[in-house]
Amino acid sequence: MTIAMFLAFVIATLGITVWSAKKNTGSSAYFAAGRSIKGWQNGLAVAGDYMSAASFLGISGMIAFFGYDGFMYSVGFLVAYLTVLYVVAEPLRNAGKYTMADLLAYRLKARPVRAAASLSTLTVSTFYMVAQMIGAGVLVSTLLKEYTWITPNAAIIGVGILMIVYVIFGGMHGTTWVQIVKAVLLMTATFILSFLVMREFDYSFVKFFDAIASLTYEKGGVEVTKNFLDPGMKFGAAATAAGGGWGPLDLISLGLALVLGTAGLPHVLVRFYTVPDAKTARVSVVWAMVIIGTFYILTTFLGFGAATLLKPHLITNENMAAPELSHFLGGDMFFAFISAVAFATILAVVAGLTISASTSFAHDFYTNVIKHGKEVSQDTEVKVARIAAFFVGGISIALAIKLQTINVAFLVGLAFAVAASANLPVIIFSVFWKRFNTTGAVTGLLVGLFSSIILIVLSPSVMGIDGPEVAAAKRHLIQMEAIFPLTNPGIVSIPLGFLAAFLGALIKREPESEAKFAEFSVRAHTGLGAEKAHDH
């Protein structure tokens, strides 16, 4: 049953890919869907690109295990879109073409800026993608456990091949529609699941919240009763003291990375190139916020529903809370549907990541760094992107298989932290600060990128001493006391990124960049001369 639903989704999306392959004539069609996507469609696609398995499965599970503190992720993921709406979306659409680096390179020296921006884009996308694929491996093999040949490795390879096919043949058109279909499926599934949870409580919020507030379950063989609405079960001082964490400061650091990182995630940014103009980009952010916000509010029902109806100690693991809840409430058939939705969720996100990474490689690195921005025909650029998509996919499959034991949350945290520390400072400075220059952009990107990577390597996510009883899959990579106390580096690396970009810009004045600020500013704020939509 489950496998039939999986196949139905795969066949439907391959159909979309074949259909959209016909539209891929020229680079604007391949990289930006001909800039012909409507506002509400792009809103759905942004939501589909963003609500990853980490959201659907991860947050539900986090709330089921840690109550209120898990809900903090839900809040951060939505508020983050205000940064996208207020600061980034419109200037990006107005002044750029295909990638984040277009915006940065506009008035700066193209080669060093694009090389650094491409490095950071590829890093963010690869880490994010490897996280999704490891998750996919575990998830698919657990969901389809009656088929023993579907091991995590087989699932990773399968997901990887599908995403490569979507991107190489479907381009941005195909990817967009896969994301739209996924967003609709995910929202439908979430509404039905929330409704079924409330049915168990006779549709009474009073009964539901009463049950959350006095939840009795087993912990370490002892029966305990806890109020799951109370904060502090994950980020509280008491909860983290055992691990030597800094408690609430970790929450602030995570919050910073979420709220400032989203506006620097390349796969989110490229979505705004698919609409005809900046006004539509703005409308699509608002659509995305309505969908994403509704979804994250509903995680209340998924997460607390799983906690109250299944009891935390009876859920197999954090990621299985939502699927197991669906099995409990709706039986085999509904479980199969929810599992297929989770699968669709992963596929749509990895396809979005693959296309943003390969576009950045072809457009930023190949055309502008290797070929010095000299004439590269549209066909060549698309061809390079397709080859890059193949390699990005292949490398991600290999990394995901190799790194299977790594903590997935750490990879996603890294992606957000790099996006916030490396990408956002240079985006903001290049749009709003006349004096900003090439040196500032390169130092900002590199310092943001490397400081977040180094701090994560030194953090308790990677470093820690495990006793012999800890299973191989859960052991820390480096068996030493962590040097940096926070699991998320944001609170240090984001200010460092801003500071490096600022100080770098002060080193030397760059008259060319300042001279071009007038033109850039007019373009960014009025949309004059912006890339136009193409008809098919």
Partner: protein
């Protein structure tokens, strides 16, 4: 970028002419007056939640409606805040669009 290198002097003059116009200046000033305080507001409102959840647990655990506590209501209010700020921006941005249209209209004349 080759098309950028070939940009004619005429184009350059147009960009600078628009940038120098008082209407363009007042558009940027209007944006700044609205966007900067709004961003400060939502950042402060968001980090206030994290601050209170982190360091003022007793207050956050107080029940308000039945078992629903301050913490949950504060978190829920973040969603309404985000949607409200988005709506506010949409409304305000319509006036920017108008100002941009005015500037471009007189430019192409």
């Amino acid at each position: 970028m080759s098309d950028k290198e070939n940009k004619s002097a005429e184009d350059k003059e147009m960009w600078e002419r628009i940038a120098a116009r008082p209407e363009f200046d007042s558009l940027l000033a209007a944006k700044r007056r609205f966007v900067v305080p709004c961003c400060l507001f939502f950042l402060i409102y968001y980090f206030a939640l994290l601050y209170f959840v982190g360091w003022h647990l007793d207050l956050m655990k107080k029940p308000v409606f039945g078992k629903i506590n301050v913490a949950y209501l504060f978190a829920l209010s973040q969603f309404l805040m985000a949607w409200g700020m988005a709506w506010l921006y949409m409304r305000k941005a319509a006036t920017y669009d108008k100002a941009v249209a005015e500037i471009l209209k007189s430019e192409t004349r």
